[in-house]
């Protein structure tokens, strides 16, 4: 899963989240449609979170309530950091990257929709951190 973000990689993360309901249920219900945009390639995806998991991942960001925008190298660096460390390091969390002037932008016409990023932050981070569990699988397979 090196091509990140892609429809396939996000679907893998969604599958991981949906099979780990106990962990995500502890974080609480989540209802939002998050856009993921790769600014330099023009690719975009929407992850529709529902209940304690993901209902679906689709291409395009038209249905998203807010969009996380970053260049592909930012997404890649975040992904590789998670894979390397099991979860995002301090300067690779969504919340850090999306601070003003860092590397990622939260875009929405509606401030309340943008505030969903704050309301569900720990769930969204845990969703991406699921990539960390893939590294152990890959490592185990390599051994």
């Amino acid at each position: 899963m090196t091509n990140f973000p892609s429809l396939t990689s996000l679907e893998e993360l969604a599958a991981a989240m949906n099979t780990d309901e106990e962990r995500f249920a502890k974080l609480g219900v989540v209802d939002c449609k998050v856009g993921i945009s790769v600014t330099d390639t023009g690719e975009g995806f929407t992850v529709e979170f529902e209940r304690y998991g993901v209902a679906q991942v689709t291409e395009g960001v038209g249905q998203a309530e807010f969009v996380l925008e970053a260049d592909s190298d930012v997404w890649q660096a975040m992904y590789h950091d998670i894979v390397a460390h099991g979860s995002a390091s301090r300067d690779q969390t969504l919340n850090y990257l999306a601070l003003p002037g860092i590397a990622m932008t939260i875009r929405s016409d509606d401030q309340l929709a943008e505030d969903l990023f704050y309301r569900y932050n720990q769930t969204l981070q845990s969703f991406f951190d699921s990539a960390g569990s893939f590294s152990s699988v890959v490592a185990a397979q390599a051994v």
Partner: protein, 368 residues
């Protein structure tokens, strides 16, 4: 007058002759059972479960007539909405009996979300990962924790100040405010704990901060208090929690700020949507909006002034600059934060149909 009899006998508890006869009949097996055969209740209610989640508050409001929320509460007692009421129920003296005075369109789902996303300041924060900090950083963190504990006191008091004045017909709002009180209790708990957990202690309570908190307490109506608390005050605090990413010396503080941020965003969301509902449903919206604008003219400087007090703003800058030697670069970060705070506040006001751009006297650029 004794309100509760210490020696309750049958004659004490019989309200009238009819009740006395009823009590007398019980010993002879003469049950009343009219409630069992009463055809007035809307019987057959069956709220749908949300698969994998359970029975949500929102789902119970899909059931008629229980989910029918009147613009004006039909009674003033504690009778649950949708039940059959006997004659002569006492009025509780509620002040807020109209829906527009308290409601927000997202309040049911926010309550469900709040209940689902609770956390524990004792167990869910990795306190064992705290590590000794340089004295200036520990003191700065403790000073920030002191201020946030202080701020959370009013945020915990606020829901309690107003909830009891709201008609039970709008119980969803009261439930949500109860979650807010719990959230804020946890926040003041977690920041007090942080101040006492790492060899520091509590710092200074600033006069400017206390005056701002007193102003929130002194609001003379729920809408003014809610605007000042939920939209203005908590909107600012939400951005501070968010900035915990660059204010936190360790992962412990980061976790604290992130968890608090989620809660705070719910309160801001309710406040914004309540403001919107209020303005859209007020019987005299033009006058209501103008009165609120006049209130906001006075409230904004009071709240934003908190973030000019030395004991408030300098610790933020020291944390952002990773020490007192980096305070200048830290102030650069705080200036960026100020811009973000003001912009998000103005956008939330716009979302509520309460355009403060061009009227807000607080500059979009930091005054330092």
């Amino acid at each position: 007058m004794t309100l509760v009899s210490e020696d309750v006998s049958r004659s004490d508890i019989a309200e009238d002759a009819e009740r006395a006869a009823y009590l007398e009949g019980l010993s002879e097996g003469r049950w009343d059972l009219r409630w069992l055969h009463d055809d007035r209740p809307a019987w057959g209610a069956k709220a749908a479960l949300r698969p994998g989640v359970g029975l949500t508050l929102k789902a119970t409001n899909q059931v008629e007539p229980y989910g029918r929320i009147e613009a004006r509460a039909p009674g003033g007692s504690m009778a649950p909405r949708g039940c059959v009421t006997e004659e002569g129920l006492p009025a509780m003296g509620y002040t807020y009996n109209s829906k527009y005075q308290v409601w927000a369109e997202n309040v049911e789902s926010l309550y469900d979300e709040a209940v689902s996303r609770q956390w524990d300041a004792t167990r869910d924060i990795p306190w064992h990962d705290l590590e000794p900090l340089p004295p200036d950083m520990e003191r700065a963190m403790c000073q920030v924790s002191t201020m946030l504990t202080e701020v959370e006191f009013i945020a915990a008091d606020f829901p309690a100040m107003w909830s009891w004045q709201m008609n039970q017909h709008f119980h969803e709002v009261k439930l949500f405010l109860a979650t807010q009180a719990m959230d804020e209790a946890r926040h003041l708990e977690v920041f007090r704990k942080r101040a006492l957990a790492n060899g520091g202690g509590l710092g200074i309570a600033a006069r400017t901060t206390e005056r701002a908190l007193a102003s929130i307490r002194a609001a003379d109506s729920y809408i003014k208090g809610s605007y000042m608390m939920h939209v203005l005050g908590e909107g600012i605090v939400l951005d501070i929690f968010r900035a915990g990413e660059f204010l936190s010396p360790t992962d412990v503080e980061k976790k604290i700020f992130r968890m608090c941020m989620q809660d705070e965003a719910r309160h801001v969301s309710y406040g914004t949507m309540h403001l919107k509902y209020f303005l859209e449903h007020h019987p005299d919206p033009v006058e209501a909006k103008e009165e609120l604008h006049a209130f906001a003219d006075a409230a904004e400087p009071i709240i934003f002034r908190v973030f000019t007090a030395p004991s408030v703003i300098e610790p933020f800058a020291v944390l952002a600059g990773e020490g007192v030697d980096g305070i200048e670069s830290g102030f650069e970060a705080i200036r960026i934060l100020w811009v973000k705070i003001v912009e998000e506040y103005l956008r939330r006001c716009e979302r509520a149909g309460f355009d403060r751009r061009g009227r807000c006297k607080v500059g979009t650029a930091a005054p330092f």
